[in-house]
Each structure stands twice: as C-alpha cells, then as structure tokens.
C-alpha cells in the first residue's frame, strides 16, 4: 500500500490475536493501509501464544488445537501489506475528528525506557480480547496459586510450569484445556475442579449440534485427561489454599446449585500449585473510554454492543472477537474478517462483498448462540461469597479484605464497585481492578436483587501505566507537529518496533513524542 509516512493509516487494528489478524488481513486485502498493534512481540494473542523463535519449538502445534489454521492466517498477514507494530502497549485512543483517530502507545521494555508512539488512523478496530475472571478465596494470594490462563500462557510462551502437582479449578471451558495442556507437558493434575456441572450444556442441544467443532475440541481435551487419569470434580470449588510461603494443599468443597459451599464436604488435596480461573471477561476499557455502548452477557460480563457489521455505537470504531463477548478463536476470526470487510466498504464507499458477508454473519450468529449457551452454563452462582472469610484478601494490589469491603457496604452505604473502591481502595492499585473487579461488584451488590455476578463498569482512562515523563513529553495539542526541544528523544522518532518485517523502509505514522 503506497502510503507516505505523514498520512494516517486507513485502519488501526488493536490486538494481534485471531480477530485482529483476520481484520487486518481482510482490510489489507481489500486495499486499505493497516497498522496492526499488539503489546506482544508476536502475533496470536493469548490463545495462540507460542514460544519465542529463540526457543526453537519444532512442535508448536503440540501446545495448541488448530495450530495449522492459525499458521495459515498468520501466513496471510505476513503476505499482506499490513504493518505489524510489535510491542506496542496502547494506553489510550483519542478522537481528533469524525474520521481521524490517534492511538497512543508505549514501546520499549516494561518499566524501563519506554517511549511514546502515536499512530493516526481513519478507523479503529478494537480486537483487544479478554482477560480472566477471578473470584477470591482464602489463600489465593499464596505463591503457587496462579491464574488458569496464566499457567497456560507461561507454558505456551515460556515452556514452564508453576509446579509438578497442579490442581486446576474454577469454572468454564478453559479449565479442561488448561488441565489437558498441563498434563501433556508433564504435570500431575490430581483434580480438575469445576464449580458448575457440565449438564448445563445439555440445555442447549441445538447450539451444541450446530457447533460440532466445539464437541470435537472438548472430546480431545477429555481424552487427554483420561489418559492422564485426571479426575474431574464438578459442582465443587477450591475454597481454601493452604501453605505459608507457597501453596501446599487446597481444600475442595462441594457446592450447591447456587455455588454455596456445602458444610462438611471439604477435603484436602495435596499440590504444589493451583491454576484457577472463572471464565473470561471482555477487555473493553479502550472502547468504553470512548463512549461505546455495552451489553450484559449471560454470565454477567460487560461486552461491547455491536451491530451486524461489527460496528460499535461510536462511528469509526469497530470491534471483533472477545471484546464483543467471549466466544473462542473461530468466532473471533469470523468477526475480524467481517469487521475488516465492513471497514473497507465504509472507507471506500462501496458495498462489501455480499455473499461473503452473509456467510460470515451466518457463522457468527451460530457461534454466538453457542457462546451464550456456554456462558449461561458457567455463570457464577451468587453463593460463592460464602467461602470468603472476613480476612480473605479481595483486592490483591491494595490488600483490601472481604471484611473491609463488607464494612463499606453495610456500614458506609456503598452499593456499587466504584463506591467500594473510593471507600476501601479495592481496585485502586496497579491492576486497576482487573483482578478484583468482578468480586467487588458482587460484594457491593450483596443484598440487592442481583442473582449473579454484576457487570464491572469501572473506568480505566489509562489502559496501561504511563511514565509521567512520557506524558509530559507528548506534543502540544495546538501544534501537533511542533518539536518539543527538551522533550524529544531523536531515537524515538522512528522506533525500531514500527518497522515491518522484511525491511520495507520507514513505516508507521509513529510521531515523535
């Protein structure tokens, strides 16, 4: 794509997972100039995380289902004109005018020598994926207790395990995948502890029947688990992790259908690590910061409200993949392509290829129905707060306990997560409530009519921490191109990371800060 460095891109895609890659490929193949930004050095997002090239993994497919399909998608990206801007941590997106957006990012190593980059684009596709939902329990801050997705991410990218005997617990389809990959990589998995039952799926036979791929995937995990003699325990939860310097055992307790722990049913399982998570939550903060409308998903998360062509409620902003509701990589790929085609049609002022769009929409709707069924089956029940003791830390960053949160609710009148945050600091720390948000919202709603985990509506104007020196060195708004004599670091003018592979020359409207 012939595009001078001073011109904005047609499209900035945020997130190089399946949705973002598919969107970048579709838009680029339709003739748009595309910048694809991701915090990682690699494409693939969280799902297709894979070892760095220097680890020379000959069998990356052993770590992933569907690796060949991803490799094909990645191949199309590499063959496209899209600029893959690696290691770009986007901290905010601002609207300059009706069709002019600025994506503000940091590049460089975390916490040391970051420098700012600004990417201008006529449209933005948000493909920022999901993060894991966590529900606290006594002992969950012990070393060795790790996020289920985190254990998988560390395995896929770093080829390491947090222990040798790892209990996998929580809720959601991810657990089986995590347990089977940990077991395949040599860990002993004494139990997979699922708070819901798998019977919930049976209530949605149609969604299952029209998504045979998902059944195959589940069967594959199931056979791995069988081979490794992993016991699945349903309607149960890890209600306490034991240990002093690291986890040594967990207590697994049966739950009733509302996720209330059943007294007297706890039993101890020895382990040296616990991988725990309760499903995924769409990452929407960049979008909600720009005023995009949201919707509530069947398992109580907040996702972006999108139309049939993946448009958000804000003109010029599209979204695809988990940002619109967690649904897996195949759905993300379909939505990404749909969004890419829709953006191209809009910017070029001509209709998108009708047949392809109709086919993509059909597939998307089918997979969304399945995703909703899965979400409903694993929606956290309200009784989980029954396993919290008053001294259980809820907010890991600020070390705010459940008792402290409950006092703010019962004694000081807090009824929502934001007020609890203001009164207790829960959610005010480094992670900005990403770990405790769901739990705090739930505790704040205690006593209200809500039957499940309420949506987390926190605002995060800074999506990642930004050094004050970097903020101070932003170009002045009135004269965006004016040099800031003392602030400009010449080496920041063309960050290495913005050069696409293949050395096609200076690219990327990476304004010097």
């Amino acid at each position: 794509m012939a595009r001078s460095a001073s011109e904005p891109y047609d499209l900035a895609v945020l997130g190089a997972g399946p949705a973002g890659i598919a969107g970048a490929v579709a838009a680029s193949e339709a003739g748009l100039s595309v910048a694809l930004l991701d915090a990682s050095d690699q494409t693939g997002g969280q799902y297709f995380r894979h070892p760095a090239p220097t680890l020379r993994a000959r069998r990356p497919h052993a770590l992933h289902h569907d690796w060949p399909a991803f490799a094909r998608l990645r191949g199309r990206l590499e063959a496209s004109t899209a600029d893959h801007l690696r290691a770009h941590h986007v901290w905010t997106v601002t609207r300059e005018s009706a069709d002019a957006w600025t994506v503000h990012a940091l590049t460089g190593a975390d916490g040391d020598g970051e420098h700012p980059v600004r990417i201008r684009a006529r449209a933005v596709l948000l493909a920022t994926g999901a993060s894991e939902r966590h529900l606290p329990f006594p002992g969950w801050t012990l070393p060795g207790v790790v996020a289920a997705g985190g254990a998988q991410a560390m395995l896929k990218s770093g080829l390491v395990l947090p222990g040798r005997r790892i209990v996998v617990a929580g809720s959601g389809p991810l657990l089986l995948a995590v347990a089977s990959s940990l077991a395949a990589a040599g860990a002993h998995v004494p139990a997979v502890v699922e708070a819901s039952g798998y019977l919930g799926y049976a209530r949605h036979p149609r969604a299952l029947a029209t998504n045979p791929h998902k059944l195959l995937e589940a069967a594959a995990h199931g056979s791995v688990l069988l081979r490794h003699r992993v016991r699945p325990l349903t309607r149960s939860a890890v209600t306490e992790a034991h240990g002093t310097d690291r986890v040594e055992a967990v207590t697994v307790t049966r739950l009733d259908r509302h996720w209330r722990p059943v007294p007297g049913t706890g039993r101890r399982i020895a382990c040296d690590a616990l991988a725990v998570g309760h499903g995924l939550v769409p990452q929407t903060e960049l979008a909600t910061g720009l005023g995009c409308a949201t919707r509530r998903t069947p398992d109580g998360t907040t996702a972006l409200a999108l139309d049939g062509l993946q448009r958000t409620s804000v003109p010029g902003l599209w979204a695809a993949g988990e940002t619109g509701g967690v649904g897996g990589w195949l759905l993300a790929r379909v939505e990404g392509e749909l969004a890419g085609l829709a953006v191209a049609a809009q910017l070029r002022g001509r209709p998108a290829p009708g047949g392809r769009v109709a086919e993509l929409r059909r597939r998307r709707d089918r997979m969304r129905a399945f995703a909703d069924a899965m979400a409903a089956a694993h929606a956290p029940g309200p009784g989980w707060t029954g396993w919290l003791t008053d001294d259980t830390e809820v907010c890991r960053c600020e070390e705010v306990t459940a008792g402290h949160v409950r006092e703010a609710v019962s004694g000081l009148g807090a009824r929502d997560a934001r007020t609890v945050k203001l009164l207790t600091r829960a959610g005010m720390g480094w992670c900005q409530g990403r770990m405790c948000g769901a739990a705090v919202a739930c505790l704040a709603a205690a006593g209200t009519a809500e039957g499940t985990v309420p949506p987390s509506a926190e605002r995060r104007p800074l999506a990642v921490p930004v050094p004050l020196g970097v903020l101070a060195a932003q170009p002045e708004a009135a004269q965006p191109e004016a040099a800031q004599p003392e602030a400009v670091q010449p080496e920041a003018a063309e960050p290495e990371a913005t050069r696409p592979e293949g050395g096609a020359g200076p690219h990327g409207r990476a304004d010097p800060a």
Partner: protein
C-alpha cells in the same frame, strides 16, 4: 434572609414509624450534603439524605480532598475556609481520623522573582484575614521538600492547609449524622404546598416529606433549583487528576505553583492547568489541577494530562520516571462569581441551597453545613452569609 424555622413544632412530627417524614431532606450525598446532614442532625433535626447516585458519586468522589486557605485572598470564601479548617480539626465522632485527615500544610512555590513578589503581596493580604504564611527562601525550600526542582525563586508555607480523603469524609459524616440515606433515588419533583412552600420531594420509590429541602446537588444544583421553581446558574468545570503508582512519602506538603491561584479565579472556558502535587497516606501522588468548561464530557484529554504531567515533573523531576496508573475526571460546580450559594432560595419558601463550591467543596463543607443547620434552626449563622445569598444572581429569562 435567614428565616426563622419553627423547629419546635417540626420536632413533634412523629418520625419513628414513618420513614418518609423528616425535618429536612438533603438532596445530595456528597461531602456538602453530608456535612449539612451532620450539623443539622447535631442540631436536633431529623434528616433524610437522598441522592440519585451513590455516596460521594459526583464531584466529591473525583476530588483530591483539599482543605485550603492558601489559595484564597481575603474575602468571604476565605472566611468560610478558615472556619471550615477549624471545624475539620475539631470535628468529633472520629470523622477526621477515619477520613485520612492530614494537617500537612501547603507549600506554594514561585519560579521567578516576579512571581515571588506577587506571592509576598498575596500572603501579606491574607495575614490580615487570619492566614498564617511563612516565607521560605529559595535555599531553604528543599528542607521542606527534598525532591523539589532546583532553581525556584522561593515559596510560602501555609501550615493551616490540610487534606482528607473526600469519599471517606462524606461517608463518615453521613454515618455520624445518623441520617436516613437513600442513594440511587432520583428526585423527580419538589413537592410544594398551596403557598408555593416546600413540602418534600418525589422519588421513583415514593414521596418524602419535609418542610425543608437543602439543595446540595453539586453540579446538578441548577437542575434541582429549577425542579423547585427556583433558579441557580450552576455550571460544570471539568478537572483531571493524575494518580501515580504507590510511592513512599516523596512529597510532604500540598505543593503547587503560584499560578494556581490565578487559574482558580479565572473565568476562561479554555483549558487551564497549574501543577498541584501531593502525596497521600495510601502511597500514590495526586497531580492536579486542570480547569475547562466543556459541559459534562468525560472523554480523556491527553492535552490536559500532558500539561499536568509537565507541571508536576517540572516541580518534582523525580516524578518523570514514576508511572501514572490512572487518571480521573470530575466536574466542579461553579457559579459565575466563584462563590457558593448558601442560604434560602429567594422565591421558594423552605428551599435552601448549599452548592456551587467549585473545587473547594471538601474544604468548605463543614462551614457550609454549620450555616445551613443554623439557618434551619433559626440560630445565628457563624459568619456573615450575605455574600453567599442564592438570590444574588439575576433571575434567568
């Protein structure tokens, strides 16, 4: 203007078995409403506080918690601030301790000799009104603040300046007041009697009855006044605050540049920023203060953040390597002459206003609450309230 209230009669109204009847309804669960409830309750009145949002959900929850005299020249606002400073210090019921009250003092610094001269002039005038200010020569500044940038011309130390955590302050005042608190309940109408006098308020969950309604609705004070048939020209003035990662105590006082005072008093709609930097007991450093009139637009302004960061790192160079983990926007309720409206509405009997404190509401809340309580009970206000008369503005067409 202060009307005598027949509180003896009011107090005979049965309260225990009817939760929708009170002596006074305070609209607004921010710090000003909480202080009104606190002092009204201490005066023996039964109080209901109603807010469409949560406790401290508006300006209060977005504030830094400034209790400042240093930025105010002689005049009615300074009198209000000095009284408030004393009231914060003497407040009972454990409120200050539970609100992270810190009498840490302010340090105003000047970057040039001219600015220093202006500061001296300002401090001399303040001294006549009861403000304590000590001049700090340039070479002594770093004894007060070791991380201050070199090259400053000097400054003034204001020992009366203090800070609280504003949301906690509001919540603790409300709890100490014992008032009935109805959050998440929007006032949709002000109920009036045949003579136009206030009888209570209507909310979606039912009518609340009281012969007095206090408008402590902050930025929405104008709306509430209109609902009641009154008029008050309250408008929002947006501000951003940048918050850093947790740090040890690197800034001891509230430190700001001398140009802050001019910005506070300015009438401009355009973005103005002046660095105001302070540490907190919880660790993060808070950085303000920006002002702009953009309605209720919450969209992040990178330009505002840039200027805040620039100002803060100019004062404290070590902050350049520190990360901002969050930023938040708030809307200060301001009136055209930058003074709050405290007192009876000129047209609606029974309606009192306590809003329009702009960025000083946390500091001015106790004095405001005390004045309102005195007016409600027919007692003498603690200071001359005429400058805050809500009737001082020409009525809207």
């Amino acid at each position: 203007m202060a009307r005598s209230v027949q509180c003896e009669i009011l107090l005979t109204v049965p309260q225990s078995n009817s939760s929708d009847v009170a002596d006074v309804i305070v609209v607004g669960a921010g710090v000003v409403g909480a202080a009104c409830a606190y002092y009204a309750a201490r005066s023996g009145l039964s109080v209901t506080v109603v807010d469409r949002g949560p406790v401290a959900g508006g300006t209060t929850g977005a504030g830094e918690g400034n209790l400042l005299v240093s930025d105010k020249g002689p005049g009615p606002e300074l009198e209000l601030a000095l009284l408030s400073t004393r009231l914060w210090r003497e407040m009972e019921d454990g409120v200050p301790a539970a609100s992270e009250y810190e009498p840490k003092g302010g340090l105003v610094v000047a970057s040039s000799g001219t600015a220093m001269d202006a500061l001296r002039h300002f401090a001399r005038a303040q001294a006549t009104a009861g403000v304590t200010a000590h001049e700090i020569e340039a070479d002594r500044l770093r004894e007060k603040e070791p991380h201050l940038a070199p090259g400053l011309a000097g400054g003034f130390h204001y020992p009366q300046d203090a800070q609280v955590q504003p949301a906690l302050a509001a919540a603790r005042l409300l709890r100490a007041s014992g008032a009935r608190v109805r959050t998440g309940s929007e006032v949709t109408a002000v109920l009036t009697g045949p003579g136009g006098e206030v009888r209570g308020v209507r909310t979606p969950s039912g009518d609340l009855h009281a012969p007095h309604v206090v408008n402590a609705a902050g930025t929405w004070g104008g709306e509430l006044a209109r609902l009641a048939g009154g008029d008050l020209p309250v408008l929002p003035r947006r501000g951003f605050v940048l918050v850093t990662e947790p740090l040890p105590r690197v800034v001891r006082h509230k430190v700001y540049a001398a140009d802050y005072v001019a910005d506070v008093a300015s009438d401009s709609a355009a973005l103005q920023t002046s660095a105001v930097v302070e540490g907190t007991p919880a660790g993060p450093v808070l950085i303000g203060a920006s002002r702009e009139r953009v309605g209720f637009d919450r969209t992040l302004s990178v330009e505002a953040l840039r200027r805040l960061a620039q100002g803060a790192t100019a004062l404290f160079p070590l902050l350049a390597g520190v990360r901002a983990t969050r930023a938040y926007a708030g809307f200060r309720p301001y009136l055209p002459d930058h003074l709050p409206a405290i007192g009876a509405d000129p047209r609606v009997p029974g309606l009192l206003h306590a809003c329009g404190h702009e960025g000083a509401g946390i500091g001015l809340a106790p004095a405001t609450g005390l004045i309102v309580a005195r007016l409600l009970t027919g007692a003498e206000p603690p200071l001359d309230v005429k400058p805050f008369d809500p009737g001082r503005f020409p009525a809207a067409a």
